[in-house]
Subunit: 252 residues, 2 copies
């Protein structure tokens, strides 16, 4: 029998770092975490942790340094605009212990974009890039993000972030894709929990999650199975479906 | 002149800890962070940090222990249901170094709620509460959350979490309420950034944030001013409005 192919492509891990007082105050509802998380699942990158921190340099530095040593990649969003509260680029330079200055490549991009006289001091702030970083281009606002080491620094505005993430995703090596199956169950998870736990013990290589939800005022459950091994995933999903069918039978 | 009243009520800080693989995979889009953050702003609690971690005991323990020593409160969501992947209660007991067992108060609640014979082994898992914790009641699912030390452990399903958060918010002391004003600006932030930074220097006690957004394909900006001092907030907002009016005048 053929060996499992899951070892062929290594697992690629990542964290998301959201930077911004407006998210912590609840004024702006983050839309980037869910977008990046779903995107990463589809391309075979495992998001293992997310942090949201305020616009305070020492907090940004501490978070990015904790995350970048622990995961293959860090995706940051927010704080790279032209105003005084945009301190992400300087914070990243500090975290990596490098200098930061006006980047000729970034200056060229914004010089071409703005009308003569419009590239003022504030907008020039957006061309400050830590030494050694590569630019992340974006077609929406033109002002670039950057990749320094394994940290990919992107804008917070979703449309811009999404354009930047396409650039980032095209460049990073991705891992074995996580496959998933969802088994919808028309009852609360308390009824199936015990047998589901037994199936989980049979499949240590398949992650089986149980997600309750309210549906028209009563509980329903989605059983989500995830694995990088398609065959084992199929087997486990069949076992769960059979278990659910038996439970429905028993209670009908 | 009356002294500022901001010292009368101390600042109350908090962090949010979201627990769940389904958020990190992007399958479920979190709705609790924005809800709790906005709620806290309204009652005078400052959310200073958010973390999202997977359903892995050591990750939960590490995160809650890092957050609970640093902030006045920690609000956790997720992982307190009846299935094998619901490991939050056990992880909290471990983080606090206390035992965990079936809690007579929780057993009484669920015994009253379920039909005879329906309170099975899996549902009984939801009555496991760390020693010394207080229950957080909820009218939606009945299964309680709990408060241990300064950590408030709630469900992940938004309707249940929201019911629990009402209970929590009613019990914790809150601080001086953060007040805010928004000044909408019909142009990109690059045009106003320099003068806005100068106003920020005049008001170290007012946090001035600049939030760009796309509006019908062009950039617009919301200037958000936040302070616990109503008078200073008013002054700063007037200065920003005057600056914006002058800029609009200059460019019209």
């Amino acid at each position: 029998m053929a060996e499992s192919t899951t070892e062929a492509a290594p697992v690629v891990t990542a964290a998301i770092l959201v930077i911004g007082d407006e998210i912590l105050s609840g004024r702006t509802k983050d839309k980037n975490i869910g977008y990046i998380a779903e995107y990463c699942t589809n391309i075979g990158v495992d998001i293992r942790e997310v942090r949201i921190v305020p616009d305070i340099e020492e907090e940004i530095v501490a978070a990015v340094n904790a995350l970048r040593v622990r995961y293959d990649h860090v995706f940051s969003t927010g704080g790279i605009g032209p105003t005084h509260d945009d301190i992400t680029a300087d914070s990243m330079a500090k975290a990596f212990g490098v200098t930061i200055d006006y980047d000729p490549r970034a200056v060229a991009i914004l010089s071409a974009h703005y009308e003569p006289g419009q590239l003022n001091e504030a907008r020039m702030r957006m061309t400050r890039i830590p030494a050694g970083a590569d630019l992340i281009l974006n077609s929406v606002s033109k002002a670039p993000g950057f990749t320094i080491g394994n940290v990919h620094v992107m804008a917070g505005v979703p449309s811009i972030m999404q354009a930047m993430f396409d650039e980032v995703a095209a460049k990073i090596p991705t891992g074995a894709k996580m496959l998933s199956r969802t088994v919808p169950v028309g009852m609360g998870e308390g009824r199936i929990a015990k047998k589901l736990g037994e199936i989980q013990l049979d499949y240590p290589d398949v992650s089986i999650g149980s997600y309750p939800k309210m549906l028209d005022g009563s509980f329903a459950t989605d059983i989500v199975l995830r694995s990088r091994d398609a065959e084992r995933l199929d087997q486990a999903a069949r076992d769960v479906e059979a278990m659910v069918a038996a439970m429905m039978q028993a209670t009908s």
